[in-house]
Structures are given as structure tokens and as C-alpha cells.
Amino acid sequence: MPVDEGLKSELQKRGVFVMPVEFLYNWSRKSSLWPVQFGLACCAIEMIAAAAARHDIARFGAEVFRASPRQADLMIVSGTVTKKMAPQVVRLYNQMPEPKYVIAMGACAISGGPFKDGYDVLKGVDRYIPVDIHIPGCPPRPEALLHALMTLQEKISKQHLNETRWYDKNAPAEYPIPQYGAHDLEPPVNRELWQPPQETPKK
């Protein structure tokens, strides 16, 4: 429910601040997104560079990279997800408490990247876990990761309390973990999560 701007500024002059609870809820969450230490490959080095002194990710609230997924709310999948690693990625994602977000950093996490031809490469991490932000690049610059973090913060500020996944009784609490099969992972993709895109007819 938006508050009248005139009333707001009047009250502010008296030292009283009025805002919806949702605004406070979203603002506090987006300003302190703590990533889980989860670097897979080359993009992890750019993630570390983004956390270093030159491009400081601590300015955006993502100061502490937590070692345990149970204390983190952002997973930056930075690097190629191989099929051998995919069950552990899903397991880690399941262990994170809600509300949680995923940034797929780099071409490999989005779609397999330059290694798409490989027999052991998972062609995109969004086959098993839901992804909020994708960052293209190989590797994306640290500034690109900061831009993605800002985009995620904007996305969070637009979320509504009554439409979120974690308060939805029908949303899955855990995503199924793939098993190692004889030739491939079983199942090769989580069908409820990912369908091949529909082709738009050419005009």
C-alpha cells in the first residue's frame, strides 16, 4: 500500500519514517546477501577478484563468503558444472535455507559454455536448480558480477511477501538430487524446472 508522499515528507521532518513492512523486509535482505564459498573453475578467480580490494563486493553487503551453505543466502555458481559435481551442487542448494538465490556466473554455468561438447559437462546449471540471474562472459569481469549483484538486489526489492516461493505451500522444499548412472546422470534434467525453449516462428 503506497503512502502519500506529502504525508511522508511531513512526518520525516518530525523524525518519523513510514514505510511498508515489505520494503524493510526486502531492503534488509538485499543489503546483506551472503554468498556461499562455491567457486568451481576460472570464474571463481574473477569472483575472488571481485571480493578483493579493487572491486570490493563488501560495499554491496556481500561481505562474508560463508563456508557453510546453511549460513548463506546466495549461491554464485562460478564455473563449469560437471556431471560428477552436479549432485553435490543440488545437495548444497538444498541445504541453503530460504530465502535463497542463485547467480549463474559465466557461460559454463548458463549453458555449458565452451565445453558444451563434453560428455561430462552439464549443459547449464539451471537444469537442476532454479537460477535468478545469468551473467554471460568467459570469464565475466568482476564489474559484471557487481552489476549482476545490483540487478539481483533490484529483483529482490520488487518481490512481494505474499507471492514468494518460500511461503508457498505447493513449492518444492527440496530439489531432487540426480544419481550417477551408467552412461549419464539419472535423470539428465529436472523436467519440472527446465524445458527446451519454444521456437518462435520466423516472420
Partner: protein
């Protein structure tokens, strides 16, 4: 079995590429000789790998040896085994050079070559339940693209056979 004189002659000829192709039965003896002979002293095994020569129906395992003591090398020690999985085994050189351990495991994982006498022969890069040997030339990877917007080459050929993974317009356009 090459004689000691033949080996010495070949290695001292100073050829840019000195390589020795030996039979499976002689491999261990030749390796020990190369390591312990005072004039050769190849105490450092730099690289172990396998090559799948599908046309000659064999898999060749190649060992590159150098000498730290005398600072010469390399010598490529090669041995061949038939491609069929049951007969594809060679003696392991891990007892001679410990550095072969992981690389022989990798050759077993990716090519299916079994190394007799290896202390711990199991898969190293792929998961244990995997049954194929992916670097062989006749390996067919699972078709798990699900969406390839710009297919070409091998991907397009397989998509035409199996269908359903590429946009229909791409299949028509590249006929």
C-alpha cells in the same frame, strides 16, 4: 626383445625423437634397465598416456622418460595392446616409477587399458558407476543437448537421426 646394445645405439644416436616400441612381455624388464643402467639413468617418468589407433586396431600406451641425474631425454617408451576390452592390458610401471600411478589410472578410466600390477586401479576422473571409456574413438556420448540453436557438424548429423533437439528451421536450412 631388443638387446642392450640395440637400445644404447638407438638412444645415443641423438635422434630428435628417440622412441622404443616394445612387446608387453618385455616392458617391465626394459623399463627397469632404462632406470638403473648407469649410462642412461632414466629416473624420471614425465608423461604417461594412451592413444587409440582405431585403424590399426590397437591402443598404444606411451611413457616419456627423462633423466634428472644426467639431464638428458626424452625417450618415448611405447607398448601396444589390442582394443578389445578383455585383452586390453599391459604391465604397470608404477612399481618402477611411482609417478605413473595417477596417469595409468586415467588411461584405464578413459581408454579401458588395464594395468597389471597397479596398486589401486580404479576410475579417477569419471564416477565409479560409469561404464564407458570416453576417449576411445568409437565412444558415442549421450545426446543431452536438449536445445542447440546453431547446430552444425556432428551435432547436426546426430540430431537429424535422433531428432527433437534442434529447432526445425535449422534442420531445414542446413540441408
Amino acid at each position: 626383445m631388443p638387446t642392450v646394445e640395440q637400445i644404447r645405439e638407438m638412444l645415443s644416436a641423438g635422434a630428435a625423437k628417440s622412441s622404443l616400441l616394445v612387446e608387453r612381455e618385455d616392458l617391465l624388464a626394459v623399463a627397469k634397465f632404462l632406470k638403473t643402467d648407469p649410462q642412461l639413468q632414466f629416473d624420471f617418468c614425465s608423461c604417461v598416456t594412451a592413444v587409440d589407433y582405431i585403424k590399426q586396431d590397437c591402443i598404444e600406451v606411451v611413457y616419456h622418460l627423462y633423466s634428472v641425474a644426467l639431464k638428458h631425454g626424452p625417450v618415448a617408451l611405447k607398448v601396444r595392446a589390442p582394443r578389445a576390452l578383455e585383452q586390453c592390458h599391459v604391465p604397470s610401471l608404477t612399481p618402477v616409477w611411482r609417478g605413473c600411478e595417477f596417469q595409468e589410472r586415467e588411461a584405464f578410466d578413459l581408454f579401458g587399458v588395464k594395468f597389471d600390477g597397479h596398486p589401486d586401479l580404479r576410475r579417477i576422473l569419471m564416477w565409479d558407476e560409469f561404464v564407458d571409456h570416453p576417449m576411445r574413438k568409437d565412444y558415442i556420448p549421450p545426446m543431452d543437448y536438449e536445445w542447440e540453436p546453431t547446430p552444425h557438424g556432428e551435432t547436426l548429423a546426430r540430431a537429424k537421426m535422433q531428432g527433437g533437439t534442434v529447432p526445425a528451421s535449422a534442420l531445414e536450412a542446413k540441408k
